[in-house]
Symmetry: C2
Subunit: 358 residues, 2 copies
C-alpha cells in the first residue's frame, strides 16, 4: 500500500521517501512511485529515459550489451527502488515526456500545463518513476523508450521542449544549461573572460554568452588543447572568441604565460569547462586579483582550488558551478537561436537519428 | 651549484624549482633552498616550524615517537627536497621567524622590514627552507625549533606577529584567518547568517564577525552538535549568536527544519565550518533562493555541492573557501581584540606552554 496519501506533501518530495527514514529523495533507497499527483506534484507520461552514460555503460556491460537483458535490468531497478537510480554507479539521467496533471496547489505557480512536452532537469535518482513497459532501447546512446509515469516535485526542475530546436540538440544543450546561464549572469561589458576548455559543449556555449555580454570593449580568450577540431574552428571562424590559445590546462605555468600574452591584465572572470582533473591552478593563475573563477567542471577538486589560491596569494572568488540557475534552460536554448552557426554545429553533432541496435 | 642566480626572478618563485621542469614550487619535487634573497624575495631567520598535524603524525608514527629520529627524518626531507614537504602526506605547515632581508625590488611594495617577527601564511610545501640544525621538538604539538633560513616569494603571504596577542593564540587564529575575513566581507546589515559548525575554531570567529556585521536587525544562527561544550557556552553567553541550534549537519532534513524554525526565511548567507564530510546539502537547504553558501570546510565535496543544489532546485551562489583574502590576518587578529571573552577563550586553549617531551 502506498503511504503517499498519509503524509503531508513536502516541496522537496520527502513525503515520497519509503526508506531509510530521514533520507532525502536522492539518497533514499526506495521512493513511493504511486503514479498519482498530490496537490504540489506534477504527473508526467514518460516517453524516453535518457540514462546517464556512466550508469548505462555499467548496465550494458553487465548484460553483455543485450537489449533484452538491459531492459529487464532497468525494469528491475525501478521496481525495487521506485526510481531509475543505478545502485552501482549512483547516477540516474533525465526523462522526456508530457504533462498529464499539475497538482491543484501548483497550478497558479508554474508555467506548465497538461499536454506540454517537457524534459526533466532534475536527476532520475530523485524522480519517482513507474514503468509499465519498456518498448525500445538504443544501446548506442542509452536512450530507453518506455510506457510509464513520473512525478516532479514542487522543487523539481523541467524545461518545455521547444518546437524550433531538434530534440536531440535541445537535450544536449539542456544537459549543460547552467554554464551559459551563469556566464550571462556573471559577465559585464568590457571585461576580459578566459574560457578554459572552450571547445567542449559547455565551453562553446559559454564563449558565445561571454562574447555577447562583454561587447566590443571586452575580450574573450578561449583555451583549447587542439585548435584544429571542428569546435575550435567554429569558435574562431564565427568570432565566438577574440583569441584562441592552444595549451594543456594541467600545465598552469604554460597557461599563465599564454594568457598573459593574450590579455596582459589577466581575466576578470575565468570559466573552467575542462573535464580533466588538475586544472584548478591554471584557472586561478589566469585570473587577476579580485577576479572570479567559475568552476563548471565536475572534475574540480575542492581542496586543490582552496589551497591553490592560498599558495599563490590570489584573492579571487571561486564559485562552485551550480547546474541550476533561474531561467537557465531558456537562456541556454536562446544562445543557440542567437548564434545560427553554433546552432548548425549542434545540429551536425546531436540532431542525427541514432543507429538502432535492437 | 645553485641555479637561482641564473634565472629571472618570478613572483611565484618558479625560478627556485629544480625538478621536475615546468612544475610550480608547490608540486615541485625539489626547490633550490639557497639562503640568499633575490631582488623580489624575502629572506627570513626561522625560529620554529609548525609542521601540519597530518604530516607530523605520520613522521612521528614512522619514528616510533622518538624525538631524535623525528629530528633526523625532518632534516632528511628538507635536505632532499629543499622544503619541509612530507612526501607521504603531501602537506607542510608554516614557520615563525624574523625578517633578515627584503629584496631591493620589494622594499617599496611590502609592509615588512628586517627585524620584524612574522608567521608565514603560505604552506611549507612551497617555501624554500635551509636547515642548519634542529634544536628541539615538541612531539605533542608538532612544533620544531630550528636554526635555519627560509625564503618568501613576492606572491607569498605572511603576518607580522602582534605584540598584544600570545604567539600560540596568534598562530591558532592565523591558521583559519580566511574565515572571519570572508565573513566580514560577505555579510551585510540586517542579514540572516547560519554558521554550521559554529563551535569550532573558525566557527566562533565567523560567528563573531557575522554578529558584528549584521547588526541589531540581523540574525545569526549557530549550528552545533553539542551545546554543552565550552565554545557553545561562549557563543551563547556572550551573544555571538542569536540562537544556538543542536543538530547533526549530516542530517540535511533535520537541519532544514530547525533552521526554518529559528529563521523562517532561511539564511541569506550560510557559512560551513564543519570538518566532516556530507554536510553540503544541509548548507544548501539552510539557504534561501539567491542566497550564498560559503564552504570553508576542507572536507567539502565539489560534486556533492554542485549536484546537491541542482537536485533541490536551489539557485544559490556556492563559494570555495579561499584561505587568503586581502588583510585576512589583520581582520582575524582584530576579531579577538574586539571580543575580549573570545580572546580569553582562545588564551585558555592555545596560550598554555606545551608539555616538552624531549
Amino acid at each position: 500500500m502506498s503511504i503517499v496519501f498519509e503524509r503531508q506533501a513536502h516541496p522537496l518530495g520527502i513525503h515520497r521517501v519509503l526508506e531509510p527514514e530521514g533520507a532525502m529523495p536522492q539518497n533514499a533507497w526506495k521512493l513511493d512511485n504511486t503514479p498519482v499527483a498530490l496537490e504540489n506534484e506534477i504527473l508526467c507520461e514518460v516517453e524516453t529515459l535518457n540514462v546517464d552514460s556512466a550508469s548505462f555503460k555499467q548496465i550494458a556491460d553487465e548484460c553483455g550489451g543485450d537489449a533484452e537483458k538491459i531492459s529487464r535490468h532497468i525494469a528491475g531497478i525501478v521496481r525495487e527502488r521506485g526510481k531509475q537510480h543505478n545502485p552501482v554507479t549512483g547516477s540516474g539521467g533525465m526523462f522526456i515526456g508530457h504533462v498529464l496533471k499539475v497538482g491543484e496547489a501548483l497550478r497558479s505557480k508554474v508555467d506548465v500545463k497538461a499536454g506540454d512536452r517537457i524534459a526533466s532537469l532534475v536527476s532520475l535518482t530523485l524522480t519517482p518513476l513507474h514503468v509499465e513497459a519498456i518498448t525500445r532501447i538504443d544501446v548506442a546512446t542509452g536512450r530507453v523508450w518506455i510506457r510509464g509515469k513520473a512525478i516532479l516535485f514542487e522543487s523539481g526542475l523541467w524545461a518545455k521542449l521547444p518546437a524550433d530546436i531538434d530534440e536531440g540538440v535541445a537535450l544536449a544543450v539542456l544537459d549543460v544549461a547552467g554554464a551559459p546561464a551563469q556566464v550571462q549572469r556573471l559577465c559585464r561589458e568590457g571585461q576580459t573572460v578566459v574560457v578554459i576548455g572552450a571547445d567542449g559543449k559547455s565551453g562553446v556555449l559559454s564563449c558565445a554568452q561571454a562574447r555577447a555580454r562583454t561587447g566590443a570593449s571586452g575580450r574573450v580568450v578561449g583555451i583549447v588543447l587542439d585548435d584544429t577540431t571542428a569546435s575550435s574552428r567554429l569558435l574562431r571562424d564565427t568570432n565566438l572568441v577574440d583569441e584562441l590559445v592552444v595549451a594543456d590546462a594541467r600545465n598552469a605555468l604554460d597557461v599563465l604565460e599564454k594568457v598573459a600574452a593574450a590579455a596582459p591584465g589577466l581575466a576578470d572572470i575565468t570559466i573552467n569547462c575542462v573535464n580533466v582533473p588538475g586544472t584548478e591552478l591554471a584557472s586561478i593563475l589566469s585570473t587577476k586579483q579580485d577576479g572570479t573563477v567559475y568552476f563548471f567542471s565536475m572534475s574540480t577538486s575542492f581542496t586543490a582550488a582552496a589551497l591553490g589560491a592560498e599558495g599563490v596569494g590570489k584573492d579571487v572568488t571561486m564559485i562552485v558551478g551550480n547546474g541550476y540557475a533561474k531561467g537557465h534552460a531558456a537562456t541556454a536554448l536562446q544562445t543557440l537561436r542567437d548564434h545560427p552557426a553554433l546552432h548548425a554545429y549542434f545540429n551536425d553533432i546531436y540532431a542525427r537519428v541514432p543507429e538502432q541496435r535492437i
